[in-house]
């Protein structure tokens, strides 16, 4: 039964407690911005976007065009070596080959040397996970628990250092660049450190702590495909040895696609190379260790400069120009359609 007095509200009676609050939130009356797709907003956004994209695109294309790049596929040129490497029993046999090329113009500025691989599926799921970051951080961990298999331990139980398919498949060609100046051959000075990310070099990769490197890796063995153990990756430079070896670090940063290039060396700008690579004849001396023919892969060596937008990749510039053009055109189309429609509207309203 209802309280009868409630039907005759009296003065002074307490406000009914069941009455909802009169707050903006509860009454759905919060102040709000109500954006609308007005013709002005839409057209200005399209034209502004168009202008922006076009200008960025043009800038990108221009800067990308200023990049000098030389790419040399040496998988065919070193066919002997590649045949040799197809047989894995020859893993410890050395094989060298040379590739000549000519620079018609100077390459000015910083010159970077890359090795490029094609058809090498670094982004394969099983490949990507096949590592132990804890191990690479110098921790003494049980790598059996990681996804390194089957590159975890040898049959005798000796753990691999570093473990996993990524480390095992590390690119181990040695590429040297020689400048042929007037029949004299000058080795182009190359920097092998400073090529990796600071965080990788200083945070992500640490050698196990010990008085020296070889003892730090005592009790472990090199990965099966390696020719030398990890602590001998760079015998000259203690700070570029073991896990913190730049080549190793760069290799461990797996690429997103099956075709990729990794920074190998930088040209050290001294002497005649202070401004970059002068025009002339050059030779790559390659110690061919990394087999690719088996999986129909290709190997490249690339020399390139960079600009603010990175290396030479015309894609972004073109894409910007295209979308800028499209945006501008759409802007015009919209204008036309809208104008036509507005005429119709007035017609109807009459």
């Amino acid at each position: 039964m209802k309280n009868k007095t409630s039907f005759l509200p009296q003065e002074g009676e307490a406000r009914p407690s069941r009455c909802p609050d009169n707050s903006a939130f509860k009454q759905q009356k919060l102040p709000a911005w109500k954006p609308q797709l007005t013709i002005a907003a839409v057209l200005s956004s399209f034209f502004l976007t168009g202008v922006f994209c076009l200008s960025v695109g043009v800038c990108l294309i221009m800067s990308a065009n200023s990049v000098r790049e030389i790419q040399i596929d040496y998988s065919d040129k070193c066919s002997d070596c590649s045949k040799l490497r197809e047989n894995s029993s020859n893993w410890n046999k050395e094989c060298h080959c040379s590739v000549n090329f000519m620079l018609k113009e100077d390459i000015l500025g910083d010159v970077f040397m890359y090795y490029g691989l094609q058809n090498f599926y670094q982004n394969h799921r099983r490949y990507v996970i096949s590592r132990s970051d804890a191990q690479l951080l110098g921790r003494n961990v049980n790598i059996q628990k990681s996804y390194c298999a089957p590159f975890t331990t040898y049959r005798n139980g000796t753990p691999m250092a570093p473990c996993g398919a990524i480390a095992n498949s590390m690119f181990n060609d040695t590429i040297d660049l020689f400048y042929n100046l007037n029949s004299s051959v000058i080795q182009v000075p190359l920097l092998k450190t400073g090529n990796s990310w600071w965080t990788d070099k200083n945070v992500k990769f640490r050698n196990p702590k010990s008085y020296n490197l070889s003892s730090a890796f005592a009790g472990t063995a090199r990965p099966p495909y390696w020719q030398k153990p990890v602590y001998l990756l760079d015998e000259e430079d203690e700070r570029n040895n073991g896990y913190v070896n730049d080549d190793f670090i760069i290799w461990m940063r797996v690429s997103a696609f099956a075709t990729f290039r990794n920074l190998y060396r930088r040209v050290r700008r001294i002497r005649q190379f202070a401004d970059g690579l002068p025009a002339g004849n050059y030779t790559f001396h390659i110690s061919y260790n990394f087999p690719v023919t088996k999986f129909k892969g290709r190997k490249h060596v690339i020399l390139s400069t960079v600009v603010w937008s990175g290396g030479s990749n015309p894609f972004l510039g073109i894409a910007y120009v295209v979308s800028g053009t499209a945006a501008t055109l759409t802007g015009f189309v919209i204008t036309v359609i809208h104008l036509k429609l507005r005429k119709k509207k007035t017609f109807f309203q009459k």
Binding site: K2, K4, S6, F7, P9, P20, Q27, Q28, L30, P31, A32, P35, L37, I39, V42, F46, V56, S88, F112, N119, Y121, N123, H124, R125, V128, D133, A134, L137, R139, S146, A149, P150, A165, N195, T199, D200, V203, K204, I250, A256, F257, L263, R266, K294, F295, S304, V306, S309, G310, G311, N313, L316, A319, Y320, A327, T330, I334, I337, H338, L341
Partner: protein, 1268 residues
Amino acid sequence: MTVPRDMPEKWRRVRGPGGAEEERRVRANAREYNEKFQYASNCIKTSKYNIVTFLPVNLFEQFQEVANTYFLFLLILQLIPQISSLSWFTTIVPLVLVLTITAVKDATDDYFRHKSDNQVNNRQSQVLIGGVLRQEQWMNVRVGDIIKLENNQFVAADLLLLSSSEPHGLCYIETAELDGETNMKVRQAIPVTSELGDTSKLAQFDGEVICEPPNNKLDKFGGMLYWKENKYPLSNQNMLLRGCVLRNTEWCFGLVIFAGPDTKLMQNSGRTKFKRTSIDRLMNTLVLWIFGFLVCMGVILAIGNAIWEHEVGVCFQIYLPWDEGVHSAFFSGFLSFWSYIIILNTVVPISLYVSVEVIRLGHSYFINWDKKMYCAKRRTPAEARTTTLNEELGQVEYIFSDKTGTLTQNIMVFSKCSVNGHSYGDMQDMLGHKVELRERPEPVDFSFNPLADPRFQFWDPSLLEAVNLGDPHVHEFFRLLSLCHTVMSEEKSEGELYYKAQSPDEGALVTAARNFGFVFRSRTPKTITVHELGRAITYQLLAILDFNNIRKRMSVIVRSPEGKIRLYCKGADTILLERLHPINQDLTNVTTDHLNEYAGEGLRTLVLAYKDLEESYYEDWSERLHRAGSAPEAREDRLARLYDEVEHDMMLLGATAIEDKLQHGVPETIAILTLANIKIWVLTGDKQETAVNIGYSCKMLTDDMTEVFVVTGHTVLEVREELRKAREKMMDASRSIGNGFSYQEKLSSSKFTSVLEAIAGEYALVINGHSLAHALEADMEVEFLETACACKAVICCRVTPLQKAQVVELVKKYKKAVTLAIGDGANDVSMIKTAHIGVGISGQEGIQAVLASDYSFSQFKFLQRLLLVHGRWSYLRMCKFLCYFFYKNFAFTMVHFWFGFFCGFSAQTVYDQYFITLYNIVYTSLPVLAMGVFDQDVPEQRSMEYPKLYEPGQLNLLFNKREFFICIAQGIYTSVLMFFIPYGVFADATRDDGAQLADYQSFAVTVATSLVIVVSVQIGLDTGFWTAINHFFIWGSLAAYFAILFAMHSDGLFQLFPNQFRFVGNAQNTLAQPTVWLTIALTTVVCIMPVVAFRFLKLDLKPELSDTVRYTQLVRKKQKTQHRCMRRVGRVGSRRSGYAFSHQEGFGELIMSGKNMRLSSLALSSFATRPSAGWIETLRKKKGSDSSTAASPSGAADKTLKDGRPLSPAAPSGRSSVSIHLHGVQIPHHTRMYYARATAAGGRRGSGGAVTAPCPLAHSSTTCLLFI
């Protein structure tokens, strides 16, 4: 008594010990004996869990949900290392989150169930233990106990009635909670036990009952009482069932037969049918499709994987040998299938269901919080009792409404009258709310009359002046009203009169007479005592010429104290005007004009007339009447002829007009809902005339209508014929108006809607209950539906609760439209439960409808706000939410698919696993939730002003399969760009410092960042209503993304878990690259600009209803409504009058026999046999003083006021006032129904007082189209 809404299934299982009970043996007052059988105690338990069982039981229940099991299955897949393409936590975190949210919700629900259980279990009842009555809690009542019930108490368990305060062991119960019937029922104890009146005798009672086991049959009980070596059969007539309320019986004793879960009430309350919205069903279908799509993608990628492994992977084995156990490319493909299922599972978003629930919950709260749906008068806010149906409120096409209590207040108000050719009462404007807005004139002051009913209001002072001036016609008019009726009066204390009218109309008339100084005071079988302007006059009641449906009138023949015999008659104008004396011709014409005017306003009219009878004629007639009354055969006919004879050549006195008060704002609401293309069907148990009358007064029916078809056939053939005719007429009309050919063409498409569209002109259909029964038969239902749907308004009268449900079911079945049923009474429960959405009118006495409903509020007019504002917004928000949700998940997931082609189909993910884990639950969940909860496309007042805005919901335009595919396409488009633009950029690119750019982690960060930005921009584009919360969530999500990104890529976390947080340093290195940002910017531009262009063009070229089209349509509609408004007044009432509509035959005879008069009322009226001498003394004094002060009516008033007796409206409790008619009189069922309604009305009126004060905020929401 709250009937648990969802009873756990357990009920059924735990019934009786050791399997099914075959018979029940109960011995009174023998707890030890009864305990042997381990009958269920009276403690009820509707809660599902307790603290210990909550976790396991709840988890078990949750995993019965397909979605949850699916994710559990994924989780298991992820634990298989060969397959696991994602860490286990990417699934478990969202899953745990979802499970937790659901568990918290379940726990809260269960807590409230515990509370309500406790409340019920702790009710007190008096139990006879060891010869004394003891207060015990309900849960401690045992089978075999004898308990005492007092008036108005709930019956605690199923009892065998032993004895009661009433003679013959009778007792009255109300079974509204049980079966929905609001009338009272009589139960009688078997004679041997009815003498056990006091506790000592009852304590000795040791009878044993052997009866049927517990069952759910409410109207059946079979058993035997064995007592003193005798057998007494027991039936349902001897039982009081739990849930009933004892009425009009001071006390009774009962023996507990079934307790707690065994009671019939509990056996009957099954799980309420779980309602799903159409969006739910669509969503489930779509999820299944997506699932199929997922499998397809999995298969494609698995085949790809097999081929790749066969062609490339084999050669690549030197660097990447196959996993152990994988020996063939085919097997690898098989594994890759499962891996891809894991990765791509985010297309079936786990958070979808929980987000939908959260949004609906938010919408429900908005409904609960809505101040404009709060009725201050009844102190009831609107309540969303179900939180899962909100968006369906935006799709309603059919409303099925109850009439009494829903459209009308069931309050009859004497509003106008015509006396001797003069019309009174015109000051009151009948246009409802218009009056409320204006300054109201002061109501007539009745303070001169101490016996006046303070709740009665009248606005025309001229009538009172006429009374005071002694206008004989007016006096005779009110004298008639005070004499010619079958109302019973009860005077609890002096001057406090309560009328118990069998129909509210009659109550209103007698009350009007009372206030104008002609107070019907009391009656005996032979007399009627009336205080005429303060003078007590006792008329001799010679005869009551009772009402029946054919006569449509009733008369009384009275002898005044002066000895004059006069016949007073009131009845339907059509009947009465024919029976007047020819000299009344002029007066008749004037009165007829008045009657037309009243009828035009939707008032119920009656014509009043009198006739003086010669003593001799009366003697003769009375003699004949006596003979006829005792005649063995053809009694009815003979009586009717005699009545006919005397009711002739009468003198016209005037006419009355009674307003069946509509709820506030009903016509406006109906008008707006009609404009919103919602069809309103009224399903009422009332008579056809009443229903049609209300149909007109609430503007469902108008005189503009081309035709109102009335189907009243009694046989299948008649009904079919009437329906066919109606359809033919509609078709003919449309053919003659429109292009016949095109119409035919449309018809041949056999779609109902096309028929609807093709029909020109407005039609209405009125169908009677008995015709409806035929129309609902299988072979005719389609025909009926087609006809009914072609009509603008449908009124079904005299329908049973079951038929109400059938009609709703019919529309549900064939129209594929969303139906809403609204009602207030127990008889609406079936339809409320059947309809997609059930709305209960709360704040009434019965709560049955509210309990069964999904939404409840106290005024019909709130329906427009519920549908047009809340429903529309809910639908819009839900659709926008779903579109965006599917979009964002496809954009997110499909990137993996494209990447599959570049990573050797190896199920490598594109993103960091943490990104995958958090994408749905952190980065993108809140902005879309905020949009889903807060978005508004147009302000609320616009949706009232432009009801057409409601249409997209009905046509399901905002989210359907087409929209879904558009969203999916957009998602896929986004994913393509999201993958291929970074791919193009990264393929050979290097960083600005010469290092490699295209490493996997940088790619992952770039794609993830551009994805988050693109979907954030997209939600920004979708959000039409940026509140602070939206801003906070959208910007917050972006901020959170970057914060989490940098945190996840930080040194600290990496140092702690180097194998988990491999992306160390990635964020700062990658995001420092201008190329990356240019890529992100380009992706965003390319993903968003086409969407902007399409949206704008759509808006510009094909605007949704919201623009030009809507504008022009609205103008047209407005004009139309205005037109209607103007025509309304000048209507000629072909349908006016019907005798007091809810009147029943048979009461005249009852009164004359005195059978229905309680001892107390008889005593009061005869002033003699009242036991209390003091009381008689007072009455006598009063009588004397009244006659002495008769000349000045105000004297009596002074006196009463001096007595200090408050003239308070302390109302009779509606239900307890019923008693008078039920004593030993078998009243036919339909009579009871009306009777109950009348009493309910009395109760409401009693408690409601003069319910004219408008609910605050009431009119602000009724932006009426009628006056634009």
